[in-house]
Amino acid sequence: MNGGFWRRLLALTRKEVKQLLRDRSNLMMGIALPAVLILIFGYGLSFDVKNAPVAVVMEDHSVTANDMIAGLRLSPYLAPTVVNSMHDAERLMLDRKVDAILRLPSDFSRRLGQGDAHAQLILHGSDANTARTIAGYVQSALAQSTVLQGDRSGASPGATVGSVYLEQRLWFNEANTSTWFLVPGLIVLITTLVGAFLTALVMAREWERGTLEALFVTPVRPLEILLAKIIPYFGVGMIGLLMCLLAARFLFDVPIYGSLWLILLVSVFYLFVALGIGLLISAVTKNQFTASQLALVTSFMPALMLSGFIYDLRNMPLAVQVVGRILPATHYMEVLKSLFLAGNLWPVILKNCVILIGYAVVVLAAARLKTRKLIE
């Protein structure tokens, strides 16, 4: 009895592995796509604005105004170009050659002496996030120049009046680079892709083409069929995960403060959840096209959008937040980000591990229930 189980499982697993290796599109999805994604996320995607073109209109040609602009030039984030008139600047902005216009009016330095100067900053708002980042950089560069200006002229306008400044500390990401949080997120994405999308597709194909029926007439049990599917795709998922970990460590120098073993362990839990979702979707739909769309909409898109990968869940409306909190990907994301950037924070790890294990048990059981040796 027991021996039969292992023999059948082994035979089925060998079949699945062969099937997986025979079609190069599977391997493209399992190996090539993660590699491409790693490169894109590591090198291509970045929220960090650098050398943003800014047109500067100087209606005041005094030394003071020039000093202010020199301050802008020192910023690594901005690339100011001085243009002759507001008209020219607007031209550049309309052609989207510059992202912002800074205008220093003709009475700028006179009023700065009186402590009441105004500068105008016009942003190209199409890309709201970039616009806001640029505004921040321009303002802080100008504020710095103003302080220097005050020091130089001897009497700062507010010398006797105190002022508050922010002493900023970035925890968990001292380098302030988006790569650090994009790469752990990428692992979630790739695991979801391989686990849910690829598995749903492959299994749905068997349902659609009736090759599962052929298996049903053999002595194998549904559990063995499912296990034999899980094993090779689990392997593919782990390869993707290892590629990500290696790239994170050696290519992108993302620090891994937590334990590597814990990262692997939670990844195994999540991979089971994803595989379970894939198997469940295919067993419910039994159709390749529907399965692929459903897998995209229920697992991949939410993992990208609602898991806190790029967009912070806390900024979303409550209803969307609730949906996000329900998703297993969100919990995996939370624990991964912490393990990478913060270290072994046990409360975070334990809470999310329990949730992930719970999900894995539920979806795998549901997939088992839905996979019956019945022909409808």
Binding site: F47, A119, L123, R132, F289, R314
Partner: protein, 375 residues
């Protein structure tokens, strides 16, 4: 003339057949529109980098009136919501570690005293930068608040107004909402996903089910079959764009600045380019599974490197060069310029020409591929 008519009739018949294939199955009918609807709402609501009631914790060790004033400014901004009030510095680490708050604002003892003595007084801001973008945005908002506080403080303590005020104004998106950017990008991107998938699958499905051979024995030429396969996909793609356009204007109230004619001219060129790519995939794929996987493998880089997730200008030079062959890049640029900036057809020629080039390369290429697989 007769030959021309016969050609048109055959193409029209093929188009009808294709549309019926797409629309006949209730499941696939639902799948044409529900995912697009869900995704555009999801992106519209979720894809925001704007802070909204961001949770923070306060550690006020001064309790003076100045500190209270500063805190009132933070709370009154409507951006932040205090979820905890700490008593000790040792409380900071646990609450940040557990991701309960985005930042801790720490006002040290002697804050009031130092401020009144005319010193530059620090307020410590401890940010959870596991998501560096959100952290940066929060720091920006707080910087504004502190600047305003300083202005008021200076004024009420005889120092006059702030030495320099920067008046910020944004064109095309006055409140700088991420959603405006996202939704306009989605008009192009979601229809691309659907068009690619549909075209790639249409031939692969026939091949897998063996009906492709039947098509070949009809009087239709391969070119006609190809046109018959493309037109319905183009149609569905444009319908999807329209759907998202409607959601953007009617549901999210994002004002459409440009002309519909310009927008649809651009979208048509874009969809044709996508169909060209989709057909090339379906010529290469042996079965539906391969077609789907190839589409997906191609789609990810096309979307990610289109400028939608992060700006192209932030990418390294080599990656920026790669995006030159990405139709989504031109389409997003075009839609944004027409939708948000309201530019005319003459201005977006720079985006339309590359799309047409992509179409004129991919369409004959896939025709060639078909021929070489079929014959």
């Amino acid at each position: 003339m007769n030959a021309m008519l016969a050609f048109l009739r055959r193409v029209a018949n093929l188009c009808r057949k294709e549309l019926q294939v797409i629309l006949k199955d209730p499941a696939s009918r639902v799948l044409l529109f529900v995912p697009a609807l869900l995704q555009s709402l999801m992106f519209g609501y979720a894809a925001t980098l704007d802070l909204r009631e961001a949770p923070y914790a306060l550690l006020d060790q001064d309790h003076g009136p100045a500190a209270v004033q500063l805190i009132a400014k933070v709370e009154g901004s409507g951006v932040f919501r205090r979820v905890a009030t700490l008593d000790n510095e040792s409380d900071i680490a646990p609450i940040v570690d557990a991701s309960k708050v985005l930042f801790v604002l720490h006002i040290a003892p002697r804050f009031e005293q130092r401020l009144s003595a005319g010193e530059a007084t620090p307020v410590q801001l401890i940010l959870d930068a596991r998501n560096s973008t959100t952290a940066g945005t929060a720091a920006g908002y707080l910087g504004d608040i502190v600047t305003r506080f300083n202005g008021d403080w200076r004024q009420s303590h005889g120092g006059g107004t702030a030495p320099l005020t920067v008046d910020v104004r944004a064109w095309y998106n006055p409140n700088l909402e991420t959603r405006w950017f996202m939704m306009s990008s989605m008009i192009a991107v979601l229809s691309m996903l659907q068009t690619l998938m549909l075209t790639a699958l249409s031939v692969a499905r026939e091949r897998e089910q063996g009906t492709f051979d039947q098509l070949l024995v009809t009087p239709c030429t391969p070119a006609e079959i190809m046109i018959g396969k493309s037109v319905p996909s183009i149609f569905v793609g444009l319908v999807q764009s329209t759907l998202i356009l409607l959601i953007a204007t009617l549901w999210f109230h994002i004002p459409m600045a440009g002309s519909l004619v310009t927008l649809y001219t651009g979208l048509l060129c874009f969809t044709v380019a996508c169909v060209g790519i989709g057909l090339a995939i379906s010529a290469l794929a042996v079965n539906m599974q391969q077609a789907m996987l190839y589409t997906f493998v191609l789609m990810m880089p096309l979307v990610l490197l289109s400028g939608m997730t992060t700006p192209i200008a932030n990418m390294p030079a080599a990656m920026q060069w790669l995006t030159v062959i990405n139709p989504a890049r031109y389409a997003i640029h075009l839609v944004q310029r027409v939708y948000l900036e309201g530019v005319g057809l003459g201005t977006v020629v720079g985006d339309i020409v590359p799309l047409l080039i992509i179409a004129t390369v991919t369409l004959p290429f896939s025709a060639w591929l078909f021929r070489h697989r079929l014959v």
